[in-house]
């Protein structure tokens, strides 16, 4: 079988090592260079820009909170993936002043890849049109496509230039790498219903204002209080929110997790849209269930066929929840692929096509793809 990619991994936080790895994959016959790096690397911006601009091959990728190699995650280092198949990279600048313009722009730019069916999508996690992008992109490309991806950026929740392009490091961009080979993908999360359903009676994009006609935060606090033995402290949100995300259940029983990011004491801001009139639940999980879900996702991908690249987009909040046990999750993901090193990132929001085929922005999930 033809190798879809050449993989170079370095734990070095220095750009010189990144440069070496890039040159190495080029020498070995790569046609496109995909960079997965840690946001906390000591990359000097000018030098990085110079390396990117001098690269003679199409170049793409992003800087993430962490990278994954085999069964370990790293806060520093880089993975250079030399794609040996003829892929096409399209950078979508997310500056449209209206959704209609964004839709037109996406359709125009996507014409060059309209005959592709398999995509890696890397998005600047802090561009606020990411979810609109996935909707319009899916609308144009249609059902039957396969996509994996995730949000690049920093845990400090500030916008940085995090997308690698031949023009340098850029922000506010969503990048699509169209592959001529098929991607087998699967999603796992392990979150289950704790309470619900609740009707979203008022929401606006990421902001959920009311559930069952009551202020979201008030109800949210009440539900958690009912499930916690000790009285909640004032900053309970920061303590418990990561353990009690919201979930939108599809008609067929799949749960789309929505992480609650912050509150003003009335609304909850989620990572991703929560449509008004949708039904949501309060979710909970534990490390065992989360590990089982990731294992199941990995096994499903492995069952679809053996490939030489296994690419993971794991939610950074899972890394936070697993803490020092993150290796356990990565271990079960790696296990079905004994001859293929797992590579990937801890992302700020994951992207994949869900059961009905549509590309969705996910939270607290594991997205695994092989090609």
């Amino acid at each position: 079988m033809t190798m879809a990619s050449i993989i170079k991994f370095t734990e070095s936080p220095f750009v010189s090592e990144l440069s070496k790895a890039i040159n190495s994959v080029i020498e070995e016959g790569a046609k496109t260079v995909l960079l997965l790096t840690c946001i906390d690397n000591n990359y000097e911006l000018d030098e990085t820009e110079q390396i990117l601009k001098m690269c003679t091959l199409p170049l793409c990728g992003g800087a993430f909170p962490k990278i994954v190699h085999k069964n370990k995650s790293y806060s520093q280092g880089a993975i250079v993936l030399g794609l040996t198949v003829s892929s096409k990279v399209v950078n979508y600048s997310m500056h449209a002043d209206s959704d209609a313009h964004l839709k037109n722009y996406i359709q125009t730019e996507s014409k060059q890849i309209e005959h592709y069916q398999n995509f890696i999508i890397i998005s600047d996690a802090f561009c606020n049109q990411c979810e609109n992008f996935t909707d319009h992109f899916y609308d144009y490309m249609g059902s039957g496509i396969s996509a994996i991806g995730g949000g690049a950026g920093s845990m400090d929740l500030l916008s940085h230039p995090v997308i690698f392009t031949n023009q340098g490091l850029v922000s506010n961009v969503t990048q699509v790498v169209a592959l001529p080979c098929s991607i087998s993908n699967s999603i796992g999360h392990g979150w289950e219903i704790l309470e619900g359903p609740y009707l979203v009676t008022s929401s606006e994009g990421h902001y959920v204002h009311s559930l069952n006609y009551r202020p979201t935060f008030e109800l949210y606090k009440e539900i958690i209080q009912n499930n916690i033995n000790s009285p909640l402290e004032d900053d309970f949100f920061n303590q418990y929110a990561k353990c009690f995300p919201l979930g939108i259940m599809s008609l067929d029983g799949d749960i789309l997790v929505r992480d609650s990011l912050q509150t003003n004491g009335a609304y909850l801001e989620c990572v991703g849209n929560v449509p008004v009139n949708s039904m949501i639940y309060l979710l909970h999980s534990d490390l065992h269930k989360m590990t089982l879900a990731s294992e199941k996702a990995a096994q499903e991908v492995a069952r679809k066929g053996v490939s030489n690249t296994v690419l993971l987009f794991d939610c950074v909040t899972r890394d936070l929840l697993f803490g020092e046990h993150i290796g356990d999750e990565l271990e079960v993901i790696q296990r079905p692929f004994p001859n293929t090193p797992l590579i990937g990132v801890m992302a700020l929001g994951e992207i994949a096509n869900t059961a009905n085929g549509s590309i969705r922005l996910l939270n607290k999930s594991t997205v695994l793809g092989s090609f």
């Binding site: 309209e114 005959h115 069916q117 909707d135 899916y138 609308d139 144009y140 490309m141 249609g142 059902s143 039957g144 359903p197 009707l199 259940m249 599809s250 008609l251 067929d252 029983g253 799949d254 449509p275 008004v276 009139n277 949708s278 039904m279 059961a355 009905n356 085929g357 549509s358």
Partner: protein, 608 residues
């Protein structure tokens, strides 16, 4: 799962899309996008009835089989194929539509379809991995009823929008047509008058000067006549573009009429010398621009122009006064021919008035029989009179005999020339009748009359001549008509047909002033003419002027080649005659032989 709550959630989510956007496509797209979210559809589509313009409609045409057409899908494609091009899907949808059921679930291949009627004019199709719960299926019709109502409203809205836009476009078009020239796209005469009125106001309120420049393209008529109107139109379009490019924001360019353009320069300073300097520059640019040859596939055409202009800086002259003055100035420039551009002055009006008075006098002269025909005899080399040319003379009671060079061009500007021509024909016929009753020498063949361009252009020209001959009971062989080469530039086929008819009737034709026009030799051969009259300008000093000698020699050769005779006009000296004899020209007309004579004097020539 709480199914009741789920149903409520789905209904409310879907209803949210309805009425959200008055644009039907956007609304239905949003609805389908929510179907993906709330019904977990893989693909969803809406098919609607469409009218002949491919616009959705809810009105059924009972006379034709109803065929639903694809309107919108979410997502647009399935496995790379556009749903709008999926003929199988279209066939399934139409099959469902015809079976009079409100909803239906159907497996086809590996796909599960749910069909739902939208009113009686559309179908919603949902593709899913699994079958929809019957409770949810039953919950959808109320939503679809609302969708149907909103669809009708959106279609009506769309029709209204189209109607309003169409009306706006028509109004804009009418407004455009009312103010623009259809050929060149420039403003038209009506609009430039509005601009001029506004410019006059500006002069009053803002102490400014304005100027109107009227541009008349000379030589344009020839292009129209020779090459056809389609070439003429292209010339006008190119001329318009040149003027627009040249004037830019300095003023407004309009087409005044025919081959006349007009330029309004506004917001000029008050100082007269500065204004004159600006106007002079613009005029120089216009003249240069118009003299650049116009190039087309049909050929390269050179034109020039005359410009008349009038400046204004107060309200003493109105719109019509200014336009009239510019028009007088351009006419004067054209008449003088020396200066390409002239400013209007009051003397021009006076001259024009004189011209109008003169025209009136010609009319009176016709009414009072002040015109006469004199006859200049024509001779052969043996000094036999072979004929005579009838020449018009105006015996003005106040000024005596007027030169035809003055009154014929003025008469040609109006239909007076037709009245004069009619007089000439009638008088010549009457005189010929009298001559026929005399013992004419056998050498005397006929009397010739000059035909004007306007006469020849008349469809009944030949019939008019024939009628005059018949009415006066004269022999057609005794009348010869003379036409000039330039007259043949109009409708050449009509002219040839008329001359042919006259030739068959027995009336001969001569080509007058030959050598000065631009006649095509190909046409010359087709003309049923028997005589070429060599223009007097080539005869003058032919004995000494080598080039004239060469030209006349060439004309004589040419005439021989087309089997025509030649006659030399304006023979005034013995030496000229000798040269002509030497060249082989044996027919003559000129003072050397005889000046024009009154009819009575001509008659005396035949008396024993």
């Amino acid at each position: 799962m709480n199914i009741a709550m789920h149903i409520m959630s789905i209904q409310h989510q879907l209803v949210l899309a309805i009425d959200k956007d008055p644009d039907l496509k956007k609304m239905l797209h949003q609805f389908l996008s929510l179907c993906s979210l709330s019904l977990n559809s893989t693909n969803s589509h809406i098919f609607l009835i469409k009218d002949n313009n491919n616009n959705p409609t809810y009105q059924l045409d009972i006379n034709h089989e109803i065929q639903l057409k694809h309107y919108v899908s979410f997502p647009m494609k399935k496995n790379g194929l556009l749903s709008s091009e999926d003929t199988k899907l279209s066939s399934l949808v139409n099959h469902f539509f015809k079976n009079n059921r409100d909803q239906q679930e159907q497996n086809f291949g590996s796909t599960l379809y749910h069909f739902f009627k939208i009113g009686d004019f559309g179908v919603l199709t949902i593709e899913r991995e699994k079958s929809l719960d019957p409770a949810i299926q039953n919950a959808l019709p109320p939503v679809l009823n609302k969708l149907a109502i909103s669809t009708i409203a959106a279609i009506n809205y769309h029709s209204l929008v189209i109607e309003i836009k169409t009306r706006q476009r028509v109004e804009e078009k009418i407004s455009y047509q009312a103010s623009h020239d259809f050929l060149t796209g420039l403003y038209n005469r009506m609009k430039i008058q509005e601009f001029l009125a506004s410019a006059i106001d500006d002069c009053i309120h803002q102490e400014q000067t304005g100027a109107i420049l009227l541009i008349n393209l000379t030589g344009f008529k020839n292009i129209n006549d020779v090459m056809g109107y389609h070439v003429g139109d292209e010339v006008l379009k190119q001329a318009a573009v040149r003027l627009k490019v040249l004037i830019k924001n300095m003023g407004i360019v309009a087409r005044f009429n025919g081959h006349e353009f007009i330029i309004l320069l506004r917001s000029l300073p008050v100082d007269k010398s500065t204004v004159q300097s600006i106007v002079n520059d613009v005029i120089a640019d216009i003249i240069n621009a118009m003299e650049i040859p116009f190039e087309f596939i049909e050929g390269r055409f050179s034109l020039s122009c005359f410009i008349g202009y009038e400046t204004f800086n107060n309200a003493s002259k109105g719109v019509q006064d200014i336009l009239k003055n510019a028009s007088i100035a351009v006419y004067e420039a054209f008449k003088r021919g020396k200066d390409k551009a002239l400013p209007y002055n009051e003397m021009m009006s006076k001259q024009l008035n004189d011209h109008i008075s003169y025209t009136r006098e010609i009319k009176q002269a016709l009414a009072h029989d002040e015109f006469e025909l004199h006859y200049q005899p024509q001779y052969d080399h043996l000094n036999n009179m072979i004929g005579a040319e009838a020449l018009l003379r105006w015996n003005n009671p106040l000024r005596g005999y007027e030169s035809p060079a003055i009154y014929i061009p003025i008469a040609e500007e109006s239909d007076l020339i037709m009245q004069i021509s009619s007089y000439v024909l009638q008088q010549a016929c009457e005189d010929i009748k009298k001559l026929q009753q005399l013992p004419l020498p056998s050498s005397f063949k006929q009397v010739s009359i000059n035909i004007s361009a306007k006469q020849l252009a008349k469809h009944d020209f030949a019939d008019t001549i024939i009628s005059a001959i018949k009415e006066n009971q004269i022999s057609p062989e005794h009348l010869k008509i003379e036409i000039t080469e330039s007259m043949m530039m109009g409708d050449i086929e009509l002219s040839i047909a008329c001359l042919e008819k006259l030739h068959l009737f027995g009336v001969e034709c001569a080509i007058d002033d030959f050598g000065t026009g631009y006649s095509s030799l190909a046409y010359l051969k087709r003309l049923p003419a028997s005589l070429l009259k060599i223009d007097r300008s080539f005869i003058t000093d032919i004995n000494a002027d080598i080039s004239n000698l060469a030209i006349v020699s060439m004309i004589i050769e040419l005439a021989k080649s087309v089997n025509m005779q030649v006659i030399a006009e304006g023979v005034e000296t013995k030496q000229e005659l000798a040269s002509l004899v030497a060249l082989g020209c044996y027919q003559y007309q000129g003072f050397y032989f005889s000046r024009p004579l009154t009819f009575n004097k001509l008659v005396e020539c035949f008396e024993p």
